[in-house]
Symmetry: C2
Subunit: 248 residues, 2 copies
DNA sequence: CACATTGATTGATCTGGATCAGGGACCAGG
DNA sequence: CCTGGTCCCTGATCCAGATCAATCAATGTG
């Protein structure tokens, strides 16, 4: 598969393995939660294409590519970003296992940004037209799609307000912990999949500022950082710095 | 109607007037565009509740209110915002005629923010559960809803990147022009419905900075500002300042 | 009318975080 | 082993925009 065509639609492969995984992914779990029968679940699974693993650095799509599919991250981390004409990069988000990519493309016919694997990535790919058609027959799917789209609207919270660098980075880390934990992964001890520069471009900071703040958080005893490895030793402390951003 | 319950569902009033207006609003225009027959259009219109006019300062909903309906602005301007525990306000957006409010509440059962009328406002209100049900029967409606939700995901573009105050304010004004024009309103000469403070809280600036920049834009000959009235005399000029933000 | 209130403007000063500059740690390839 | 290339860290300086402060214009209000 060519590097830039990971979300290009391929012949469907609804094998036992894909089916098994997809019982844990966003859509089919919506079905299971609501007790849909096996026949309907199969209707869903036939739409799912199991992609990857894709090597670090592989682009899932690039800005302007025709929109064909959305995807759920199965393993690994995906960065979405845009680049301005001066070559400066704005990171739009990081997508961890269990999270969706490509929702913002639904309203256009092209992807509005780039998506790249930060580490080896496996995906569940869904043809959007097909899943939308299915959604007209299975209300649970439609409802879940509305929910997922709506969730994404409010996602940028830590970037909206006029917060300090310290508040934004603390919130970023605290949210990472929460997101990993929600998916059953280790929340307090993990490897940051993205470079300092990526964090900086996401939080609108200089990479130097990210470095200095991580050092400060470590001096405060909230985390310990060793290259890309981070251990959250005082989550409460982090949350207390992030309280204005997270508002709870 | 009580001030804080403007989006509370009331007995449906699908009178001739509402029906006439709603031929211009987001959902029914989706139907008309796709040539749906009159029977189906009536199915849609029966769900629409025609609200207002609501006086300036009236809250359509407050953070934490139970989510019941989304709404399209018919006339006037609505500001959505959140307030942190120190009382500082973050403006999430301004909603002009033809634009939707409440989409970010779909994924929860409560509104995640406040919405207030900045000038007298008239709305089209839709019960979300009912329109979702209708969407399972009319694919055009479902598709339009997916589109509208998806559009909102990418909306925050001018707040994401690390742009200068000048770039953000120029982009804000240029987008206002574009949004008014799209709805057939005068794009080059209009009244800013929001206070300087609101613009500042939206763009993460101090109100003083907004004042100074408006003055600078005036000195550059791009606009002329007189209290809340603004005339865009050199749109190209504004766009040239905003080019990094708008990326086209 | 005088008087208070609210929003906008302008000037003076301060500062958080960017930028500039220099190293150091780690890894890959030869 | 060395060597070049990333990525990361740390210190010194600088500046865009915040903050502080004063004034002014417009709109009530009794």
């Amino acid at each position: 598969m060519s590097p830039t065509a990971a979300l290009r639609l391929a012949p469907l492969a609804a094998d036992a393995d894909a089916l098994n995984f997809c019982a844990t992914c966003a859509f089919s779990s919506a079905c299971l939660d609501q007790g849909y029968d096996k026949t309907r679940l199969n209707e869903l699974h036939i739409l799912v294409d199991h992609v990857g693993p894709l090597a670090e650095g592989t682009h899932l799509f690039r800005e302007g590519d025709p929109f064909e599919a959305i995807a759920a991250v199965r393993t690994g981390t995906v960065k979405t970003y845009v680049v301005d004409r001066e070559g400066r990069e704005t990171v739009l988000g990081f997508h961890l296992p269990g999270e969706l990519i490509g929702l913002s493309a639904i309203s256009r016919d092209r992807y509005p940004c780039n998506a790249v694997a930060l580490e080896p990535v496996a995906l569940c790919r869904f043809s959007f037209p097909e899943i939308a058609t299915l959604a007209t027959r299975i209300p649970g799917i439609q409802q879940r799609l509305f929910q997922l789209l709506s969730e994404d609207i409010g996602k940028a919270s830590l970037l909206l307000g006029d917060f300090t660098a310290e508040e934004r980075l603390a919130a970023f880390l605290a949210l990472l912990v929460r997101r990993y934990r929600r998916r059953g992964l280790s929340g307090n001890r993990f490897s940051l999949p993205m470079a300092r520069t990526d964090i900086a471009n996401y939080l609108r900071l200089a990479p130097e500022t990210v470095s200095r703040l991580l050092r400060r958080f470590q001096d405060l005893g909230f985390v310990s950082v060793e290259r890309r490895f981070i251990e959250i030793s005082d989550e409460k402390g982090l949350l207390s710095l992030a309280v204005h951003v997270l508002r709870n």
